[in-house]
Amino acid sequence: MNVKLEFTLNGKNVTVSTDPLRRLIDVLREDFGCTGVKEGCSEGECGACSILLNGKMVTSCLIPVGAADGQDIVTIEGLSETEKGKLIIQAFADGGAVQCGFCIPGMVVAAYSILCENPDPTEDEIRLGISGNICRCTGYDLIVDSIRLAAERGGSIWKK
C-alpha cells in the first residue's frame, strides 16, 4: 500500500506517494533523478550510496524510504551546490582524486562529514573517515591528499 511521505531533499520540501519499504537509494534515483547516488554493493559495505540524513552520513541502500518521512536529506546533487561541497569537488579535481568516478559522490559526502567534524584531520583520521567507502581505481592516496587539500583551502569555513 502506498503511503504519502514528506521530507526535505536538497533544501526543498518534497512529497512522494510510494511503498514505504522501498530503499531510499531507489526512490532518490528513480523518483527524484538523483543519479549521483550510486549503487555498488547494496549492503552497506561500499559507501557509494552515501547521503546526508539530518546532516549525518548514512548509506541509502540500508534505509527504507518510510524512515525518511519528516527528515532532511542531502545528496551529492545538493551538496555540490554548497560552498563546502564546491570546495571539496574542486580539491578532488585539482588533486587528481578521480579516475572512473563511481565512488566519488560517496567519497565527497565522506570528505564533507570528516571535515565538518574535524576541520584539520590527520592522514590517519582521513583514512578512518573514508574507511567505509571503497574505491576500485585510485589506491586512495590521491583521495586522502585531496581531502587534506580541501581542509587547507577551506580553513575557517570548516569551523562554522
Binding site: 511503498d19 519499504l21 530503499r23 531507489d26 547494496s42 549492503e43 559507501g47 534505509i63 527504507p64 518510510g66
Partner: protein, 303 residues
Amino acid sequence: MEEVRAYIPETLKEALEIRSRTDCIPLAGGSDLMVSNKRTTGVAPSFDKPVLIIRNLKELKEISVNGKGECVIGAGCTSAEIAQSSVVPWHLRQAASRMGAVALRNSATIAGNIANASPKGDTPGPLYLLDARVRLTSLAGEREVLVSDFIVKFKTIDLHPDELITAVVVPLSERNFDYIFWHKVGTRKANAISKLTLSQAIKFDGRIVSDYRLSATATGAKTNRSREVEKLIIGKEITPALIEQVIDAFDEVISPRAMPEFRREATRRMIRRFLSVASERPENRVIDTFDGFHVTGQPEPVF
C-alpha cells in the same frame, strides 16, 4: 483493501499501540534487516510481516544517568551517539566506536545490535561484562531483563510480541574497576563484522583480586562470559600459574568456528596480557597495548 506494508508511528505510545494489536517487525537503523531481506536493485525488500519503522522516535534517543547511578541508553541511540557520550561506560564506548565505518555507526542502534542476537555483534560483549539490562516496554507495563538472559541463543530473544526494547540500562560499576581492557582483533576491512572482541575488567583489594570479569564475542554461538572462570581468580593473588588456569578454563568455554586456532590463541594472549600487566599495577587504568596486534583506539592501517 491492500495490505499495510509499514507503520510509521510518530510517538512511542503510538508504536506500542501498533505492537499491541499487530504482529509486526520493528525496524530501527535497518542495517541488519535491510540486508537480510533485500531483493534486488529497484525492488523493495520483502518482509513476511508488516514493518514498524521506529528509527525516528525521539523517546528512544536519550542517554542519561538515573538516580541509582546507572547509565540509561535509549534503544534508538546509534553507535555514533553512544561512542560520543561521556556518560556511557568505557567498554561500551570502545565497542560502539569501532562498529563498522562512519555511515554504519550513524544508523546502527544498540537495540538492533542486541535484538539481532548474533554472536558477532560487538555491544553484547561489554553489556554482558557490565551486567547490563534491557528495558522492555508494552502498553501493559515494563520489565527489565539482563542482556545475557534476553539473548536466549543464536538469533533468539525473549521479546514478547507486544513489547519494544526502549532502553539499555548499564550499571556504572566499571568506575570501580582498577584496570580495564577492550580489544577488537580482526582483518583490516572496516565493515567486516565477524571480529573477535574481548572485554576485561579487574578490581583489587590490596593484593587480592576482588572482582574480575571477562567476555568475548565472535567465539561461539553466543557472546561468552563465564562466572565460573571469573571465580577461579576472585579472592586470590595473581600468579603466573593462576593466569594459565584462567586461560585454560576460558578456552573450554569458547567454541569459535571460523579461524578457531587464531581466535583461541588471540584470546589466550589477551587474557595473559591483561592479567599479568594488571598484577604489576601500572599507573594507566586502560591496559591496551598488545604485542603482535594493533593498539586499541589507534586507527588500524585501513587499506
